[in-house]
Amino acid sequence: MAVGRVYRFYVRSILSDGYMWFWAVAFMAFWLFMGAYVYGAGTTIEEFSKQFPEGTPGTIINEAWSKFTLHYTAGWYGSIALFSMSSVTIGLVYYIFYSTIPIRYLTKYSKATTAKFYTGFTLAAITGVVVCTIVLLVTTILLYSYRFYGAELKDYHGLPVPVFKNLVLPENPVGVLATTIAGGVLMYFIGATVALLVIVLKKPRALGLASFLPHILSFGLGMAGLIATGGKVHFSPYNTILLLNYHYYANATLVLDEPVTMMWRSGLEGAGQVLEPSTLWLALLGWILLFAAASVVLFKKQRGVNVEQILSL
């Protein structure tokens, strides 16, 4: 019952947080729009078909176009979902940091034990991440389907309703959901590690900068793996989420030495060393266990922040 109570309170807090909706959803939706209409401005089937020798049957071009748009959409969804998750982490760092005193009080003088409290909190964080990414997933599908295939307005009981000619849907929605949930767990433990590290080091004034570290790292590593380089960067905690989402969205072959944007071509050509999703799952689970262990160690080590210091922030 205590877990449920803590869960409901934090879910309500997270989902009613305007900052979270702005940074983790609205701002990310803006970048999805940029991906569709600015970075992909010249990407049309007419331009795309010029890459094929004259006389190539239309069905082959259409099939290749369909594959290309799916991979392009998957690449954008994978990276934007990752950045959205790490935006949520900024808020989680603050929630965890400022909860240390109330938790000390509640675990002494209420039904909540430390374990129950953190279970409820973790589940709420995962829910927050899942809700944000589902909103972004739906936005991605609608936006990129419209961008690449267009839509017609049809009359439905007097209301104009857009009917999409083709929907760029994820090939494996269960895989996307599983990646999102695992990503939520990872982000919670990264947030907890950062917040508890600030407490253990007794540097509460560093909270502002520290809270942005996960987001900055996700952006740096995510962009590196997306457009710049392949190799070991794909095993970073952030890139595993990006790659798994990309893989499940497009049913893409993952190529170790390529950045994500080049993988679809290498995958088609059969070039490069193939990266199995199971290897990425192992890496992701390893990161989750590592950050969970770090959180537990830091939690046991922390003696809280001085009340006066927290109040003076």
Binding site: R5, R12, S13, S16, Y109, S110, K111, G304, V307, L311
Partner: protein
């Protein structure tokens, strides 16, 4: 039914304690009187288990406070830092706390609507005026139905009518109340409570309000002193029945504050 404080040192910065070896026992409704900076809030935080630096032992009903875990209805408080940083309306925060603590939300709602304003439960805590926030925090502590209710400055920023209303709710509560304040006027209404004085991190007492008002203040040593207040400067202030300036009523009790503050 006691709270024992055994050689308690507590504070916030390395080696600098606000409470400097407190030894006392609380057995019933108690007022802790003391000037600003004397350690009233630190004492409350220490009793609630949320202070960082602490030495010594607090025993609540025979159980060491450090080993107390998941004991709803034992202790509650009105300190703002006990409550989550949240943008949710007050009603959600209150339901969360009172559900976990085994409290009574309907009583809370009635209290804040009656003494504060009808719309308080649907507003966010940080949007309320300081006075209304005080009422919400007091109501959260009182509605928790805890055995011991700790109220730190429960009348702060309240207008005179609301002070009387809050005091009336406090006296009606069946819990054992421990109330820290530097407001002395309320002693007239709380004749059967115990009074502890807190001065520069040390706690003195208990006395009954009437006993306190019968005492006289002297800065010179007095042989039959009931209490001698040790100041950081090395000096002492003596309270006795025979020598010095009579306290005599709650207005002149403020003289004691003047003596210990402007030593």
């Amino acid at each position: 039914m006691t709270i024992k404080l055994i050689d308690i040192y507590a504070g916030y910065r390395h080696g600098e304690f606000v409470l400097r070896g407190v030894n006392t026992e609380i057995t019933g409704d108690t007022i802790i009187l003391g000037p600003n900076g004397s350690g009233k809030t630190t004492l409350m935080r220490t009793l609630l288990g949320v202070n960082v630096s602490k030495r010594g032992k607090i025993v609540i009903d025979g159980v060491d406070m450090d080993s107390t875990r998941s004991s709803p209805s034992l202790l509650s408080g009105n300190l703002p830092e006990l409550f989550m940083l949240s943008r949710l309306p007050v009603k959600h925060l209150a339901k969360f706390y009172l559900d976990l603590a085994g409290g009574d939300y309907d009583y809370f709602k009635d209290l804040v609507s009656r003494i504060g304003e009808e719309k308080v439960p649907s507003r966010r805590l940080h949007e309320l005026s300081t006075g209304l926030r005080t009422i919400v925090l007091d109501a959260l502590a009182l509605a928790s139905n805890a055995k011991y209710v700790l109220l730190d400055e429960p009348f702060e920023s309240l207008d005179p009518a609301r002070r009387v209303a809050v005091l009336s709710e406090i006296t009606r509560s069946k819990s054992t109340k421990i109330m820290s304040t530097h407001t002395t006027w309320l002693l007239n209404s709380l004749g059967d409570w115990s009074v502890h004085l807190i001065v520069e991190g040390l706690v003195y007492g208990p006395l009954k309000p009437r006993e306190l008002l019968d005492l006289k203040i002297s800065r010179k040593p007095v042989e039959d002193a009931v209490l001698s207040l040790k100041l950081r400067s090395g000096g002492e202030v003596y309270l006795s029945k025979t020598t010095g300036t009579p306290i005599s009523n709650v207005d002149s009790l403020d003289k004691l504050y003047e003596v210990v503050t402007w030593q």
